[in-house]
């Protein structure tokens, strides 16, 4: 699965998520990706989110919607993403990750899986990583 979220200088937000699903899925299986509130969510008044992971768990937990609720309750985007992913894993099993931008432009990255590939751009520097605690940079 891949995803991109963004916010422009006027506070307008977008969320995009795209996937090939899971290897060996039944034909016709639908995952979380195309479901608003699960595979992604976007509301200029709160934030924007794209998720990835065990789709069947993400759907049952409405992961993106849960993260949005955490943002609405004033949680930092990093905490919102991490808390929701861990809560999902604890409650319904599976693992997940999410990228988040809050309405004030703060970035959140969280995952309950061993790895999630992420990157963002700040002051012409690309920040990226894949393991917990890993934070690498390179020039734009």
């Amino acid at each position: 699965t891949v995803g991109a979220i963004g916010m422009d200088v006027n506070g307008h937000m977008v969320s995009c998520t795209s996937t090939g699903g899971i290897t060996g899925k039944m034909a016709g299986r639908v995952g979380d990706t195309p479901i608003p509130g699960a595979g992604g969510y976007c509301n200029n008044e709160v934030g924007t989110i794209s998720t990835t992971g065990h789709g069947d768990s993400i759907m049952r937990y409405c992961l993106a919607s849960k993260i949005m609720h955490h943002l609405e309750n004033g949680n930092d985007p990093n905490i919102a993403a991490q808390k929701a992913c861990e809560s999902m894993s604890s409650r319904v099993g599976g693992s997940a990750g999410a990228i988040v931008i809050s309405k004030d432009g703060k970035i959140g990255i969280g995952f309950s899986s061993p790895k999630m590939a992420w990157a963002f751009l700040e002051n012409r520097i690309i920040h990226y990583g894949i393991k917990h605690g890993q934070h690498l940079t390179t020039d734009l």
């Binding site: 039944m26 008044e45 899986s113 894949i130």
Partner: protein, 167 residues
């Protein structure tokens, strides 16, 4: 300036694939930055980022998508914007290079949110999308992953190439 964040999937990704992911995500960020510089549109920027990763077989989307039990690719995508909370999505689409672009068309050009299967593909044709052959989307890595999945007795669920993984 704008804020743009991307992800390239989660799970038990083997270390040997880390650099491919890094290269692909940095390319996606650069594509998004270029799109924003030339259009001033965050919508175009995010679409450009995802399309860049859909073109990269290091990621499970577009080219490089994994295979279902029938050995087929069925892709899904969601596009959502925050001003009016409009959304468009597709599921079960085949032979499309950029499902995210099709999801955006659903959002912008239909009164619905989610189109599925052959009807989504029919909508793609009407919207001017060119079909791509299975050979373009289907990589050797994805075929090997399905073979390994079938040999393993379908346990556990796998998604990323070559490893028990997700997303």
């Amino acid at each position: 300036g704008p804020v743009i964040v991307v992800h390239g999937g989660a799970g038990s990704i083997p270390d040997s694939r880390d650099q491919q992911k890094f290269d692909g995500m940095c390319a996606a960020i650069r594509a998004a930055h270029y799109a924003y510089e030339t259009t001033s549109s965050i919508t175009e920027a995010c679409q450009a980022a995802v399309e860049c990763m859909e073109d990269d077989e290091a990621f499970n989307a577009g080219r490089g998508s994994v295979l279902n039990l029938k050995g087929e690719i069925e892709m899904e995508a969601l596009f959502m914007e925050g001003k009016d909370m409009n959304a468009g999505s597709v599921t079960g689409v085949k032979n499309i290079a950029h499902p995210i672009a099709l999801a955006r068309k659903v959002m912008e050009n239909t009164p619905h949110v989610l189109l599925m299967g052959q009807s989504a593909n029919d909508f793609a044709v009407k919207s001017g999308f060119e079909a791509v052959p299975d050979d373009y989307l289907m990589t050797s890595h994805a075929k090997i992953a399905l073979d390994n999945f079938l040999k393993s007795g379908s346990q556990p669920i796998t998604t990323e190439i070559g490893q028990g993984s997700v997303g």
